[in-house]
Amino acid sequence: MNKVLMQGNKIIGEAAIRAGCRFYAGYPITPQNEIPEYMAERLREVEGGVFIQSESEVAAIHMVIGASAAGARSMTSSSSPGISLKQEGISSLAACELPAVIVNMMRGGPGLGNISPSQGDYFQATRGGGHGDYRIIVLGPDSAQELADLTMDAFDLADRYRTPVMILADGMMGQMMEPVIFKTPKPRAYPESFIMKGAGAGKSKIIRGLILDPLDMEEHNWTLDRKYQVIARKETRHELFKADDAELILVAYGTGARIAKGAIKRLREQGLRAGLFRPITLWPFPTNELRDLAKKIENFLVFEMSTGQMVEDVRLAIQGRARIGFHGRPGGVVPTPVELTNVVMRKYDRKEGIIDHY
């Protein structure tokens, strides 16, 4: 397979097309405009491809609902404020058990915020995001290669569990070019019986989220929850980097994890044996894997481009078994590995461990 140099947003588009995505609806918002542009071009070329520039993010996600119900691999993308608008439909997708892929190229918030890379939407993504009792699978790529691989995987996961899957990256991942090799996607395995295409001569089908009887709705909630538990058991992914001999573990994802890797190399040059725990699935969070690590390592430092969101999942995983520190840069600031190196040196003492820990 050929290695190509491509921009992150376009990589997502190309990976989606190769994975068989045939429906895209979206509304332009920086820093992800190259996704709709790329899809507009590519969906013209492939058989059965449909691209719609919708009147709003709200309309886009509801078009995706229709296309998904009608049997197409479907995707929409946006950035933070637009993802807030899509939550109504994401909640519906979860309720109706429809597969879809949603891309969030996060930017600084809250409100309109700015267009710089940020990780402020972690809570929104990993707690479901919209109303009601549900979760969505959230994948946090940290390289061009993972943008391609995880986009393809997202369509498979969405089908397998009939649930929306979110790619959670940020403006930097979307804008950056890096070499990438597109893997060969698996053929789609989605039962025909799930697809709504008219009743034919048979029984008619209903796709709905409205269940007025509380006991029936409760059962639907438990059914969804059992599915989420299976996902949590089977689908967690994480990466360990220089963790074998580490005295201190940084926990970071996406762009934050790249910066952490840079800091770890510098820290090791200064004699501090730091390592990285990088969640790749943000939901389900690799809780057990992190907890296991806390059996032998006493000090953790969470780094996020936010005021501290994933750090709560880290605390829940570690449950007081180790010291947890935090460094955050919210609002669209991307700190350098040098800054993070200095912060770690300040916050970690060889004898005392993490200072001002949780």
Binding site: K3, L5, T30, P31, I115, G171, M172, Q175, M176, M177, E178, P179, R258, I259, A260, K261, G262, A263, K265, V334, T336, P337, V338
Partner: protein, 181 residues
């Protein structure tokens, strides 16, 4: 080894093309590479810049707070980026347009009258490629033959004649610094 370079100028000078072609060349030469364009309102305002990181190891951040090199095609870009260059780094100036002197004395400064040279070659739009010739001559980041083949690749569907004049522009930039030294 990790080398970060910021390319900057105004929109239309082919600033992004310089970064893109370098990144592609470095990838072809077997390096890890990232290319990060400045995006958003800033780009539309008339200035354009991008950052290329080339390394023999994984690249942590594609952002350069302290680039090893800057290549600037206009005066505002010089002011914007000259103070960021790491001491001992290199600064490449389009001296056809930039009449002022850099305030830095701890970096190597290379002045290339690339706009005039491009004009002489018959295509003023190749000033960026002239700069690339000079840049790769000094930094040696990517061998010229690999770079030129990447340049042709990223130019894609452009006419053969366009690629040919860019090859000449590259050679002129490459030769220029040899003569100057």
């Amino acid at each position: 080894m990790m080398v970060k370079t910021i390319f900057s100028g105004f929109g239309g000078q082919g600033v992004l093309m310089m970064g893109y072609s370098l990144a592609h060349g470095a990838m072809s030469a077997g390096y890890h590479v990232t290319f990060l364009p400045a995006y958003g309102a800033e780009v539309r305002g008339g200035t354009a810049n991008c950052t290329v990181a080339v390394s023999d190891d994984e690249i942590a951040s594609p952002i350069a707070s302290e680039p090893n090199n800057i290549v600037v095609l206009n005066t505002p870009s010089l002011y914007a980026f000259q103070n960021r260059v790491a001491p001992g780094g290199a600064l490449f100036l389009n001296s056809s347009i930039i009449a002022v002197e850099s305030s830095r004395h701890d970096v190597r400064i290379f002045k290339i009258p690339s706009s005039e040279m491009a004009e002489k070659l018959g295509n003023p739009r190749t000033a960026n490629t002239v700069m690339m010739g000079a840049f790769l001559k000094i930094t040696g980041l990517v061998p010229p033959d690999i770079y030129l083949s990447s340049m042709a690749t990223v130019m894609g569907s452009k006419k053969k004649s366009v690629i040919e004049i860019n090859r000449k522009a590259f050679a002129a930039g490459h030769e220029f610094l040899k003569i100057a030294e």
